[in-house]
């Protein structure tokens, strides 16, 4: 699905969500998918007292060489936000590299969020998808992790859609696998358009 970007040394991704939305699983699915694409990967959560609804953070590193760094990610290349309301209390773009990208679940357009965050001044890119709406339509629950995994794939092309679909079918079973595969595919294709 599209030409795959060549990984240069190390890509670092930080995920923000709320407990119960699957921010940890999002990073984990991408670690498995990245490995299937031939990269070394490492994902880990910033583990808190995992209560539903509290802001949570997880991390992903993708590299073309074995990964030894297990410290938290302070200067990510990408930030993925699973829940737009997290942005009200957490500075999700803290440390985001110049030229880096925020990929966010957001009810409005990429331009709207770009203006709000003064993204051009900061030299960062912004791409949004209304993941809550999409997830509610397909899952009937506001669990946005797989949608945002698809969005990350479509925005970055670091992993192919085929690989993500393979992984999601291993990760989930039966109807849940079908629904999450649908979410990934929809978000992947949508983001490919947004980030064209």
């Amino acid at each position: 699905m599209g030409s795959k970007e060549v990984v240069k040394i190390l890509i670092e991704v930080r995920f923000h969500g709320r407990g119960g939305q699957g921010a940890v699983t999002a990073a984990d699915i991408l670690a498995v998918a990245g490995f299937k694409e031939g990269y070394y990967t490492l994902s880990f959560p910033m583990f808190g007292a995992e209560k539903r609804g509290t802001p949570v953070v997880s991390y992903l590193r993708i590299s073309d060489e074995p990964i030894v760094a297990r410290d938290e990610i302070y200067n990510p290349d990408y930030v993925v936000v699973l829940d737009p309301t997290v942005m009200e209390t957490v500075n999700v773009i803290a440390g985001l590299k110049k030229g880096g990208m925020l990929i966010s679940n957001y009810p409005k357009s990429s331009d709207d969020l770009k203006t709000k965050l003064k993204a051009d001044e900061l030299g960062i890119k912004v791409a949004t998808i209304n993941a809550t709406k999409v997830a509610m339509e397909v899952l009937g629950r506001p669990i946005t992790n797989t949608t945002m995994v698809g969005a990350f794939g479509g925005a970055t092309r670091l992993v192919s859609l085929e690989t993500l679909l393979d992984v999601v079918n291993e990760w989930f079973k039966g109807e849940l696998a079908e629904k999450n595969a649908k979410l990934i595919e929809e978000a992947y294709r949508y983001m490919m358009e947004v980030c064209r």
Binding site: A31, F35, T41, F47
Partner: protein, 391 residues
């Protein structure tokens, strides 16, 4: 087969391949998924001749393992932090009874204040139990450590418990590619457990019974001798493992750039990033190397003497504190090299209760010592400055 798995699974898979007879545990964060995975394997009938018992506490878990091990079973448990110290009364007994119990400690801070995050205070607290302690750097080393732990512990020259220490969260919760062992490889390396002595109803024995002053001391001397013999047994087992698996994790210590003027000493999961930092600083012309301590018990006295004999400055990173003195690794290291090295010792307690140790923090730590901005001695690093309120 290389597969992306979570740290928990890298341990559980390896334990399964070692064909344990009794697994007994009580869940505690961040150990839980290790025993959840094993419980699932048990429920699915994958564990063969094995009983899985969920205990009512860590004290119960350790107690049942003592009984099972004394009856000749190969046993396993995992715990950490409050769980480990709740086990401690039983674990001191297990060592004295010379039971080759293998356990994994997913290193976590001790209360109070309550912390579920990673440091080494828990395993260090049972330093004197007579339990071998191996600290691993990553999940592949944790995976590989389990069969080696059984082989060392069950060696009749040793017969002591073996604790594999892996950093909670940093390792346990991380998904990363692991070369998963297969049954054939582990079977070729680890023979079935044949206990030297075991309890049966046909031949009743007593373990750990009353020893009055005229005989107690001899048992303790024997424990020390067993620990000393374990040093060579470990080297043989580590070497054999390298041949069987193709992965050589080193001996009691592993040294990078041994002839450096500055040597950084550490244990556990920070070692990977430290190695990278050291390599980068060397590229700038700094004479710095790395000593990874793998076995904290038995302590690598001769190895450290050799590694540090020509060093000018030694930086020791401790993940725990012996309050009223300093970091325990540093205490041990100074004692080991006394009279054998004139190096200045910079002893730092870092990363307590999960305090992150970012790359630039580690770089600055080494640079400050290298460039003379620090004085030898003990200090905490990475904490916020605060004024203590004395009521």
């Amino acid at each position: 087969m290389r597969k992306v798995v979570r740290g928990f699974y890298s341990v559980a898979h390896s334990v399964k391949l070692c064909r344990p007879n009794v697994i007994c545990a009580y869940p505690i964060t961040p150990q839980t998924e290790i025993v959840e995975n094993l419980a699932a394997m048990y429920a699915n009938g994958e564990l063969g001749d094995c009983e899985y018992i969920t205990a009512e506490s860590e004290f119960g878990a350790a107690s049942m393992l003592v009984g099972a091990s004394a009856a000749g079973a190969r046993v396993f448990t995992a715990t950490c932090s409050q769980g480990l110290i709740l086990m401690s009364e039983v674990l001191f007994n297990a060592a004295g009874m010379r039971l080759p119990i293998v356990l994994v400690n997913t290193n976590r801070a001790l209360s109070a204040p309550l912390s579920i995050w990673n440091d080494h205070q828990d395993s260090i607290a049972i330093r004197d139990a007579g339990i071998m302690q191996l600290y691993v750097e990553n999940n592949q080393e944790a995976h590989d450590a389990i069969p080696q732990a059984y082989k060392v512990a069950e060696n009749r020259k040793v017969l002591l418990p073996f604790m594999v220490c892996m950093d909670g969260y940093k390792l346990t919760h991380a998904y990363e590619p692991i070369d998963l062992l297969d049954q054939e490889t582990v079977d070729s390396f680890l023979p079935p457990y044949e206990p030297a002595a075991y309890m049966t109803t046909k031949k009743p024995l007593a373990f750990g019974c009353y020893a009055p002053p005229h005989i107690y001391m001899e048992f303790r001397v024997a424990m020390q001798q067993a620990m000393e013999r374990a040093k060579n047994v470990m080297l043989d087992v580590f070497k054999e493992w390298a041949e069987v698996s193709g992965r050589d994790w080193g001996g009691h210590i592993a040294v990078d750039f041994p002839d450096s003027k500055i040597l950084v000493v550490a244990m556990g999961s920070v070692v990977g990033l430290l190695r990278k930092v050291v390599e980068e600083l060397r590229n700038e012309g700094l004479s710095v190397g790395l000593v990874k301590i793998r076995t904290f018990r038995p302590f690598p006295v001769e190895e450290l003497r050799e590694a540090l004999k020509d060093a000018e400055k030694v930086i020791v990173l401790d993940r725990s504190v012996s309050f009223g003195y300093e970091g325990p690794v540093s205490i041990e290291l100074k004692s080991a090299i006394y009279g054998h090295s004139s190096a200045e010792i910079y002893s730092y307690a870092v990363g307590l209760g999960g305090r992150d140790m970012p790359k630039d923090f580690l770089e600055k730590l080494i640079r400050d010592v290298a460039e003379g901005r620090e004085r030898p001695g003990f200090a905490f690093k990475g904490h916020q400055e605060f004024e203590e309120v004395i009521p």
